[in-house]
Symmetry: C2
Amino acid sequence: MQFNSVLESLDIYEAGKPIELVVREYGINPKDVVKLASNENPFGCSPKVQAKIAEILPKMALYPDDSMYELKEALAAKYSVNTRQVIIGAGSDQIIEFAVHAKLGRGQKVLMNGVTFAMYEIYAKHVGATILKTTSREHDLGQFLALYKEHKPEMIFICTPNNPTGDALDKTQLYDFLDQIDANTLVVVDGAYMEYTAYADPKKAVMVDDITSRYANVLYLGTFSKAYGLGGMRVGYGIGARNIIEALYKIRPPFNITTLSLQAAIEALKDEAFVLMSLKNNFEEIERYYDFAKEVGFEAIPSYTNFVTLLLPSTQSSKKVAQTLLEKGMIVRDLTGYGLNAIRVTIGTLEQNSQFFERFMQYCR
Amino acid sequence: MQFNSVLESLDIYEAGKPIELVVREYGINPKDVVKLASNENPFGCSPKVQAKIAEILPKMALYPDDSMYELKEALAAKYSVNTRQVIIGAGSDQIIEFAVHAKLGRGQKVLMNGVTFAMYEIYAKHVGATILKTTSREHDLGQFLALYKEHKPEMIFICTPNNPTGDALDKTQLYDFLDQIDANTLVVVDGAYMEYTAYADPKKAVMVDDITSRYANVLYLGTFSKAYGLGGMRVGYGIGARNIIEALYKIRPPFNITTLSLQAAIEALKDEAFVLMSLKNNFEEIERYYDFAKEVGFEAIPSYTNFVTLLLPSTQSSKKVAQTLLEKGMIVRDLTGYGLNAIRVTIGTLEQNSQFFERFMQYCR
């Protein structure tokens, strides 16, 4: 059977390895598996969220309130915007998908960083768009601007802090860049890990209301998958000018998040103390990774997120290291697919991080 | 800002009204609201599913096993197919989306029934496809064949039983039709309500393994949202030849269902007794709707699903009837948007159905 020709440029996406697979394939006791591969919150989610979901389990049969009224109200209040500037997605991933489909057609251009979140490129390929990339590992806005001026792309992705490198832009730098982009270019500012960055360095904390009040062409993305600890529930959001949100709404399928996910996100927003505890632990524990990197002679990219990227020396293959650790029940992310000889490790609990250091020293030295 | 021109043909989809909205807008006590609008299972989901989900709430933080190994194994066993012939979606809706994007490009053609599930047309518009429709209310395969021969569409949707009319095709009729379609035309057979049909009339029970072994160009869709009572969890599936499933996989975003949804679907498949109880109640209660229709002089389309479509006489507007009932806390689906002066009512529990008859007689006569 013949399919849409855009499929020729697409591969089947290989997601991070789940604990179930390691148990299945390597016969490891589930209790001995440590997953530091998908930047999940090592403390899980707020116990208050769990209690609320336990209460509403019979609602699994009922479609969610597709207006998502309560969640949108809460997000609008948090960010000082109007509810009509907010759209909810099955993870911020889905907002990326909506934005690409709403803005781009075959042959139109999209600009992104050389090393950045893989889904930007994948969704762009879905619509047959032309992909432009900087040569930079961390975001280089100078290069972005030069490519923008040369190619006039219809869409730009900025990921700050950047996944999978962990670096973040100063907000003044970002605003200076945005000032130079024309009103018809849609700029997506993906702040999936912004809670971490804002905690670590206010200078890098991109303010959503600043963005939306200053730029009619910018779509900000946030998620409940990281700091709020709801990776398994698939809830993210996009915030921007009303005409952008309306365009995305035309692409949004009805009931795009589950009834339990909707309620979980609403409850999660009420427990900022849980988030704060998670952030505090994260930046205490991250220091141990920097010390570890120094000890073993790796370069660690300074991180404003809940993960750290360790660049390996050319004598050691990140693919092999990740595979060795996997077979020992320690799941980390190999970045070979991103063109880096590096592994990305999620900052876990004190115990999980100790496990990483121990197993690395035991099996990879 | 300029967007993709396909957006010009798209409206924002208005989903069925949730209970929350009726409570909010009409100040009705949530306990007095009866929702018979979205074809949810009135018994909720299996208590065994609820018990399992209660156990795994801490997993809300963890991304799901994206291989969906266990669920695909269970479905493959149920339908006697290979796991590589199975794909999971956020509702069967999402499989429709994958199929349209994988098969159709701008200007290509898709054929469907005159009155049928709205999302076929909406997703086709996303990619700028040309939509062909029969003039029939219930599926008329003669008209389908004539239009197929005239226009040679790249894709065909068959919805059996059909939503929102409730009628179902005899399987021999369907197979005779499929025999005449060329191998490069993708035919989607949407069996979202097939459990009900199979219970009511084996002659209309389309067998998935028959379909997949006989037709390399047919994609069968099923869902956990109806008979399995998991409408709020958004899990559906597509089954077909491996090359079709592989094409859809290229369009599938990673982690497209939640961790809890995946587990809920796995558990739901284990409790067929719950499904059987739901089916039995459904076809006992549906008789009361037929009696009611006779009593008030409406035509009820004989239904092979968990809903019944009542065609109103021209003296009564379905839009008004649905609105009157809504304001009294009884949510049903007006079908004006489908070109019918009719309401679609989900078969509820004995009490819910009695409520419908009572409130209708009180407020709409």
